[in-house]
């Protein structure tokens, strides 16, 4: 069954067509990648799903529910988490606080009970903390736990951001160029983590990625975009060999 579906989505900015008539669906437990040259509209797809941009036409469905009109925080509440190309962390907070913030959608306490920090708020925070520690273990972030984000190297920030998205306990995870800015070693770790995320946590992943090796290793299917148009969808090998894709990257 497909967990996520985009039907003929399209958007333009000031007359420039950023995305035109793109349709795809993502199966439960799949790792679905989006590739394409710069300006192809990859991140735009993510920003449309996160509802940072309004769709001009088309619809988005999560588990059959139309999510093209809800507000950004409701997208998160429905279990879609994301990372950003150049990281958008809470810079002045520690790694721990960043990950805890991601539990916001699971908050069950009211403002009033938090004012007095009632026992249930304490219990809730402890349960958040335990889950956060699981993520910290998974991604080997122990040594960074109490460090502020602005003191971290870029590679570590990318991982922290992945951890923060996972802390949201998403059903669908959007990764925007997870390997950019990582060294080859870190990229290899990343490919294992993405496998773990799929196998152990059962999260469906949509990933924008340039690194062909990583793409080939982890993704089930790949969608190629160019100039906002869909070129093809298929296995990594099929897409790599597709004449339109070669054309888009190399030109004629």
């Amino acid at each position: 069954m497909s967990v996520f579906e985009a039907k003929e989505i399209g958007v333009s900015f000031g007359g420039v067509r950023a995305l035109h008539d793109v349709s795809f669906s993502v199966e439960t437990g799949e790792i679905f990648s989006i590739m394409g040259p710069n300006g192809a509209g990859k991140t735009t797809v993510f920003n449309l799903i996160s509802r940072f941009y309004d769709l001009d036409h088309g619809d988005l469905y999560l588990n059959g529910e139309n999510i093209s009109k809800i507000s950004p925080h409701e997208v998160a509440a429905r279990g879609i988490a994301r990372t950003f190309q150049n990281t958008e962390l809470f810079e002045n907070e520690t790694v721990l606080q960043n990950l805890l913030t991601a539990h916001h959608t699971h908050r069950r306490t009211s403002f009033l009970s938090e004012m007095f920090f009632l026992p249930k708020v304490r219990r809730q925070d402890l349960s958040f903390r335990e889950k956060v520690e699981d993520i910290i273990d998974l991604l080997d972030l122990q040594s960074y736990r109490d460090q502020r984000i602005d003191a971290l190297p870029f590679g570590a920030r990318k991982i922290v951001e992945l951890g923060r998205a996972l802390s949201l306990e998403p059903e669908l995870l959007l990764l925007d160029e997870p390997s950019s800015g990582l060294n080859p070693e870190e990229t290899e770790d990343l490919s294992f983590w993405i496998e773990d995320i799929k196998e152990e946590l059962g999260v469906t992943v949509i990933m924008v990625e340039h690194d062909m090796n990583l793409l080939g290793q982890v993704s089930g299917r790949v969608m190629a975009l160019n100039d906002g148009e869909l070129l093809t969808i298929g296995t990594p090998e099929e897409v790599r060999e597709h004449p339109d894709v070669i054309n888009a990257y190399l030109g004629e």
Partner: protein, 358 residues
Amino acid sequence: MRFVLKTNYTQDINLFLHNGQRFWYGLLIAALIVAPFFLENFYVGELTYLFIWVIAGAGLMLLIGYTGLVSMGHAAFMAIGAYAHAVLFKLGVPFLPSLLMAALISGLLGAIIGVAALRMTGIYLAVATISFAFIIEKVISAWRPVTGGHRGFIVPEPVMFGLDFGSDLAFYFLCLVVVIAVMLVVMNLLRSPTGRAMVAVRDSEISAQAMGVNLVQTKTLAFTLSAAFTGLAGALYSHKIGMLFPENFTIILSIKLLMLVVVGGLGSVHGIVFGAVFISILPQLIAILRDFLPTWLAQRRGLEPLVFGAILMFFLMFEPLGLYGRWVKIRSYFTQFPLYRKSTFKRQKSYLRTERVH
């Protein structure tokens, strides 16, 4: 240097990290309880003012330091709190309900400004809040039947449960209780999801939304709370100054509050207290300064705003983490001696990349 061995997640949740902190804060509260019995009346009054500044500062710190929304018109909320309480109390509403209603009215007006502020960035908000403060000032001076306008409004003596709280001592304890309650509420909020949502909005609105934080709710709540606390401070302030005039709540007061949070240290609870202490002793400092200046300069009008402005500029340029930041630096200098490195606290500068689309 103290290393805290953490064996339990609750240690990170508790208000105090270790028993040493618990001891020192306990001692502080004990000292504040016995202090008025040993101090002259003048100093008891000054401490009461300090408490009122802490309450107002807590409100503004939540807004500026933790949610990243700059208000330059918080004097308006102090004014609303002060007049609302004074008028209600004079009309015969009992003391405590009147105090709470004043905070509530101020909070509701704050919520309205908060809604207007939803789609505004820093500058817009600063100007909107200044405008709001001007409007409130105008309303207070024009609404003579209720506020007395420029002729002033006499605040009745505080009476609670039939007891007179008009004496310096009784009012001191009243303010002490309120200040502790307010600080507890602020600290509780900051360690729970609400506080984390506020900080998330401060650091990255985009990310906050992607993590499921409702921007509308969080910003409105921050404004409401901030206005309510500042209104509460205003209500207590009204008894302290005894007679209310619109001139008590001008832009100078707003700047003073702004100075409180900047000088204290943005984004720290300690900063509220440090900042409040600073602005409480500032008039004395200015008086001392006057003694050192040549008479022709010392007697000029405008020395006070000059000093206010200069201090604000000084801290923003050279000590943006405020007095609390300086305190942390000094402390770590001694605890890490001789390993202290200046670069530990070096700020990272970023180059401008516009958020505008041309």
